[in-house]
């Protein structure tokens, strides 16, 4: 039995990736299953998907806690999600990054494949859907599946859902990624990210479903407790404020869905980048181009 765990963000296609990998394995004559874990989050939030591959019928229906391989569709997840949980040094990782394997630090030393899937996706698909490029890298990294079966699986799954043009573009992404994937051993210098958790026993749990604002075990609960979710890690573009141009119309302040644009006494504005998801509305609504969107997660 071979177990693969996919880590991505809502909208990147982690679930489709897991399904397509399973289909590729089935095309090779294996048994396979793929399933999502649906959290309550939306686009941009960390999501997980799972695939199991075996030579005989798979009867397990639980999530994967000790994966043989993790596929990380978004490098920034390393900072906010324990993505290598349960991975041993015998395991392997496939990561979407511009780094080479020996530059990459996963906090655990494993066989590692890296590929700049984001650039490949933009080139081949014209959208940041990195899932098929990552499958190309998986095919390169392990003999679990071949590039040929991955391509056929993409044709089936994407072709049926999105049409032959989309399938072609995604096959191209997988091929490009297969070419450009680099393999090696990654570094283990960083401390693996650990989430603060509050996991009360039933006796410790407040009565019923009611919570008042307080901190329990370092976790904020109750009204306003959402502030502990630093959704700024979701973004892949960052607004930059050109204060001199600002006419203090406050359109950006009104239109920011995150409420991360702060309004000063004189009605100039500033960004709380901890929450900015990089949607770009502020830049779009600014009548004097005083806000420009820059690529990547930065702070200005």
């Amino acid at each position: 039995m071979y177990e693969v765990r996919f880590h991505g963000r809502g909208g990147q296609g982690a679930v489709m990736a897991a399904q397509t990998l399973a289909e590729a394995a089935i095309l090779l004559g294996h048994h396979a299953q793929a399933f999502p874990y649906f959290g309550a989050e939306r686009r941009g939030a960390p999501v997980r998907a799972f695939a199991r591959i075996d030579d005989k019928r798979i009867s397990i229906k639980s999530q994967i806690y000790e994966p043989d391989m993790v596929v990380i569709l978004d490098e920034s997840l390393l900072e906010i999600d324990p993505v290598v949980d349960g991975l041993t040094e015998e395991g392997m990782a496939v990561v979407n990054t511009t780094k080479s394997p020996d530059e990459l630090d996963l906090g655990i030393s494993v066989r590692c494949a890296t590929v700049d899937a984001s650039s490949i996706a933009m080139e081949a698909i014209k959208a940041p859907a990195v899932n098929t490029a990552m499958l190309g890298a998986v095919a390169r990294m392990s003999d679990l599946v071949t590039l040929e079966t991955v391509k056929r699986a993409i044709e089936d799954r994407f072709g049926e859902k999105l049409g032959p043009r989309a399938a072609e573009a995604n096959i191209l992404a997988a091929e490009l990624a297969f070419e450009k994937t680099r393999t090696g051993i990654c570094k283990a210098d960083r401390t693996i990210f650990q989430k603060k958790v509050w996991l009360p026993t039933w006796e410790e749990l407040p009565t019923g479903t009611t919570v008042y604002p307080e901190h329990i075990d370092g976790v904020a609960v109750g009204p306003g407790g959402s502030m502990q979710n630093l959704t700024g890690t979701w973004r892949n573009a960052t607004p930059r404020y050109l204060k001199d141009k600002c006419i203090r119309c406050l359109r950006c302040w009104f239109c920011c869905p995150e409420g991360c644009i702060k309004r000063s006494e004189d009605d100039h504005v500033s960004w709380d980048y901890r929450y900015c998801k990089g949607c770009g509305i502020c830049s779009n609504v600014c009548p004097v181009n005083a806000i420009e969107m820059t690529r990547g997660v930065t702070e200005w």
């Binding site: 309550a40 039933w202 019923g208 479903t209 009611t210 919570v211 009204p223």
Partner: protein, 391 residues
């Protein structure tokens, strides 16, 4: 104490008036409507200070009730049959959020082969909702139980909604002598509602966010333990009620001539009265018949039943609804309580769709249990008053 001649529906309305319920969402459905009509009159005449809200459906009735209870006031409503079924979704909002709503369900048959007459197939399916559920026998018990229900529901060890079930027409519309307690006596027994938590901008809380798998199971276990813990409170409240008003109803179960009984019927609702008459008849013939009145279906009195049945040679179970899988729901519950005791149990299904339960039916029921006790061969499941051969 004022003596009145009241139907059980009107006795309930008097109890709600004495309990000073403040928000009462209402939707008409036979045979419950008399309750809401009388409450509306009390309020219109200025004899009662409450908001009677005429909702557009029972679904909204229960939604308003949970909203008002979460808002921190004492809430009452009543329904029956199809109305309870329409509420089904919203019933679940009260227990896990720990909202002590009190509701009277006037039992009436549900579904196709429809009618307006008594059957327990409306309330029995709601046993798994987390609501406490009590069945009463007469108008006085209906009144007393509504008062007790608020005490139990609002007890900080409980904080759960209670459904008081009473049989349609045969009880809801039967006038009897009912003692209505004085307001100050009720006030002393049932003080003003102090909510454990309430939606209030002065002290904001989040009630019922989406609960992920990391927490939901602990919440379910907490609720399960709370339903169990309510047994203690139910007994305490009944004892205190008895001290103050001179009448108790036995708490979880009540018994009749059980001291030396060798066979008995476990019965609930109005059929209990008829059974009592037959027990007297059998006793006069020297037979050791007894009666166990099952009051609460939730919490289910597993231990109490085991104890009271321990000396018996056979016991019968009365079911006024059928699970369409051979047994009725009360039989299923009782069997799980008594499993391993080696006691012979028979199921007696009767009174479906409002069919009258006659003295003769009840005599037949006891005859079968008596034969079972004597070791004779009997059928395990018996429909009473049915035309045709039972296969």
């Amino acid at each position: 104490m004022v003596m009145k001649v009241l139907s059980a529906d009107h006795a309930v309305a008097w109890a709600v008036r004495r309990a000073k319920a403040e928000v009462i969402p209402a939707f008409p459905i036979t045979p419950q409507t008399l309750i809401m009509e009388l409450l509306a009159e009390f309020i219109a005449d200025g004899e009662m200070d409450a908001d009677l809200i005429t909702a557009e459906s029972e679904h909204s009735v229960m939604s308003i009730a949970v909203g008002a209870s979460a808002g921190g006031v004492r809430t009452f409503t009543a329904t029956a049959s199809q109305g309870l079924a329409l509420m089904h979704e919203m019933l679940y909002a009260a227990p896990q959020n720990r909202l002590p709503v009190v509701m009277v369900n006037v039992n009436r048959s549900l579904g196709a082969a429809a009618g307006i007459w008594v059957e327990h197939n409306d309330s029995m399916p709601e046993r798994e909702s987390g609501w406490l559920q009590v069945y009463v026998e007469d108008g006085q018990e209906a009144l007393d139980m509504v008062l007790q229900a608020y005490r139990i529901a609002e007890d900080e060890r409980v904080l759960l909604p209670i459904m008081v079930c009473l049989d349609g027409f045969i009880l809801s519309h039967t006038v009897e002598r009912v003692e209505v307690p004085e307001q100050e006596d009720v006030d002393a027994f049932l003080p003003r509602f102090k909510p454990a938590f309430a939606l209030d901008p002065e002290d904001p809380s989040t009630i019922n966010a989406i609960v992920p798998p990391e927490y939901a199971m602990e919440m379910r276990y907490q609720l399960d333990r709370t339903v169990e813990r309510s047994k203690m409170v139910i007994k305490e409240v009944d004892e205190e009620f008895k001290e103050r008003f001179g009448r108790g109803h036995g708490g979880l179960i009540d018994t009749y001539k059980m001291d030396d009984a060798d066979h008995a019927l476990i019965c609930l609702g109005t059929a209990t009265s008829t059974a009592r008459a037959i027990v007297d008849e059998l006793r006069s013939q020297g037979r050791k018949a007894g009666l166990i009145k099952l009051r609460f279906m939730r919490p289910f009195p597993h231990e109490e039943l085991r104890e009271v049945c321990s000396g018996l040679r056979a016991v019968g179970v009365f079911d006024r609804s059928i699970g369409f899988n051979r047994y009725g729901p009360v039989f299923t519950e009782v069997s799980s309580s008594l499993s391993g005791q080696g006691l012979k149990v028979t199921d007696h299904i009767g009174g479906l769709g409002g069919r009258d339960i006659t003295l003769r039916d009840m005599r037949d029921i006891y005859a079968i249990i008596g034969s079972d006790a004597e070791g004779k061969e009997v059928k395990r499941v018996n429909w009473h008053g049915l035309r045709g051969v039972q296969t």
